[in-house]
Amino acid sequence: MVDPIHDEKLRELEIKANEARQLVIETLIEAGSGHSAGPLDMADIFTAFYFHILNHDPKNPDWPDRDRLVLSNGHICPIRYVTMAMSGYFPLDELKTLRKLNSRLQGHPHRTALPGLETTSGPLGEGLSQGIGIALAAKIDKKRYYTYVLTGDGELDEGNIWEAVMFAGKKKLNNLTAVVDRNNIQIDGFTEDVMPLEDLKNKFRAFNWEVLETDGHNIRSFIDAVAEAQAVYEKPTVIIAHTIAGKGVEFMEKDFRWHGMPPDSQEVTGAPAKGQQAKTALDELRTLKGRIVSEHQA
């Protein structure tokens, strides 16, 4: 079970999340391609998972009793790689190999390439089903590990997601928790313009899921939501985590143009000039430590 987080550790994780964002920017710059918005907005949640929620052992990634963290929207993998490296799965230096030849850090995550990844993902809509299979195996084997599946919100356009939602509801999979990154953007625009998802909460409820909502940038409230999900015995739980796309970098926030590109790859209206984007982002993130904390204290 997940313990509540005390103040001192919370502050430590908030600083870690900010370091993770900086590493994401540096990693993307080195890679020269990749996605910016999703990795930045999921930094707090990944930090919460790898440094507080997950029962895992980075030195023993195949440990049979580990909790499983399944990333369905594989394109945000830079933040997963960063937080894995920070927690000791592999050296931080290896982050520089992202998207390069012979790297274990594939552009979209590949399970057999890197110990600690639970699935291969990238094509959207497939992670929840895979998480269901992993959770079913736990039931058959009478194991107590939890399976967490992270999905994007645009990804919920995929029919496969709702096939999976139906099935998990039918099987009352109480060892499965889904987390939706509700950042409201996808490649072609805002989710509610591209394909409206609302009323999202009641859609899940109609399929026999428990629904929780939380601020995806408030580590404590996210951890509390996961603990609450684990206490739900009779059904699977989805945590709709409200996030700000590109969180932490002012000129990227809430702007769907940053979904699929790294800083400094092209000129973007309203953003610093090409060549200055990464620098601006990093400067901003490096001075953010105090601000993130004070936001939560407010």
């Binding site: 736990a138 058959i140 096939e163 099935f167």
Partner: protein
């Protein structure tokens, strides 16, 4: 003559020879696997009885999962089970799985190297009256192009049972192809079967042509061989249950004397058994070849026998192909 070393069914040419659908062999094989291996699980997409998965489902309800009509979900759930120590069999009609859910299988099972066996049923025009929507005639082509997968097409219900059981020996994904209608049982429980091997069911000292066949079409090939023998044309008939990995050594051995090939399959001639064999021969010893199968066309409703004749895949079609390829020999 029939190869006496393979312990084939001696009555296979009789009018009243035993017939059974290969899907029944799947059902029995899956049940036996379930009895010997507690990690075997099975999933169905609302076609449990039709695919004969019901035998397993009834005996092992705690290891059977009904996903409803959702083949993508079935494939990806199986992938999750397959990376968690289970050997997961997914069962549906081949047009839907691996047809409809092709990319899901590609990503979550094959690239992901999950221990999942894809049982594609109702393959070929043999599916009959249901029509072309339900006749999978491209499934071998769309699976054998994947890296790290085995593709197996059993020729009868007994070979189907053996293939099903053997598929669990590898942790790799396997595609298994089964058919709906009852077809002649050519093998016996003593007939050898190994994944990656092909077998010369009909032998000759001086073959003019080697016929490679897959699935129930091997019976048509044997009937053709017998008639051709009466006409003074000697051939080999090689049952080829493993399309991938192809038995290269045997392929070269069986074509050494004949130097001409006819392939016979209830599948599009593009990308199936004929494609696999021609790719291999082109790299080693190119030989004149003729391809019996669907010639760039979909099937339609009809009885299996009517369809096999209409599309030139019956005994006459095979004999014509043999004579044509002989005429092309130099």
């Amino acid at each position: 003559m029939l190869n006496p070393n393979l312990k084939l069914n001696e009555k296979l040419f009789d009018k009243d020879t035993e017939v059974a659908p290969t899907r029944a062999g799947f059902g029995t094989g899956l049940l036996k696997l379930g009895e010997t291996n507690p990690n075997v699980v099975a999933l169905s997409a609302d076609l449990t009885e039709s695919t004969h998965a019901h035998k397993f489902a009834e005996k092992f309800p705690e290891r059977f999962f009904e996903v409803g009509i959702g083949e993508q979900n079935m494939a990806a759930i199986a992938a999750g089970l397959g990376v968690s120590g289970k050997i997961a069999f997914i069962t549906s009609y081949a047009t839907f799985s691996p047809g409809k859910n092709w990319e899901t299988i590609r990503t979550t099972i094959v690239y992901n190297q999950a221990n999942v066996k894809i049982a594609g049923h109702h393959a070929g025009i043999m599916t009959g009256p249901d029509g072309a929507t339900h006749q999978a005639t491209e499934d071998v082509a769309i699976t054998r192009c994947w890296p790290n997968i085995q593709v197996i097409v059993p020729c009868d219900s007994i070979e189907a049972e053996k293939a099903t059981i053997k598929s669990a020996d590898t942790p790799l994904p396997v595609y298994l192809r089964y058919t709906r209608d009852k077809t002649p049982v050519m093998t016996t429980k003593d007939t050898p079967f190994e994944v990656g091997k092909m077998y010369d069911f009909w032998i000759s000292d001086n073959p003019q042509v080697t016929i490679f066949s897959m699935g129930y079409m091997t019976h048509y090939a044997l009937l053709a061989a017998k008639e051709l023998e009466a006409e003074g044309i000697e051939v080999l008939v090689v049952n080829t249950p493993t399309i991938k990995p192809l038995d290269r050594e045997a392929l070269l051995k069986f074509t050494e004397k004949s130097k001409a090939v006819v392939t016979v399959e209830d599948h599009q001639v593009m990308g199936g058994l004929g494609g696999a064999i021609s790719e291999e021969l082109a790299k080693t010893i190119p030989l004149p070849m003729e391809f019996v199968g669907l010639q760039n066309t979909f099937g339609e409703s009809g009885t299996p026998k009517e369809l096999v004749e209409k599309y030139g895949m019956g005994v006459t079609g095979i004999k014509d192909a043999v004579k044509k390829v002989i005429s092309r020999k130099r």
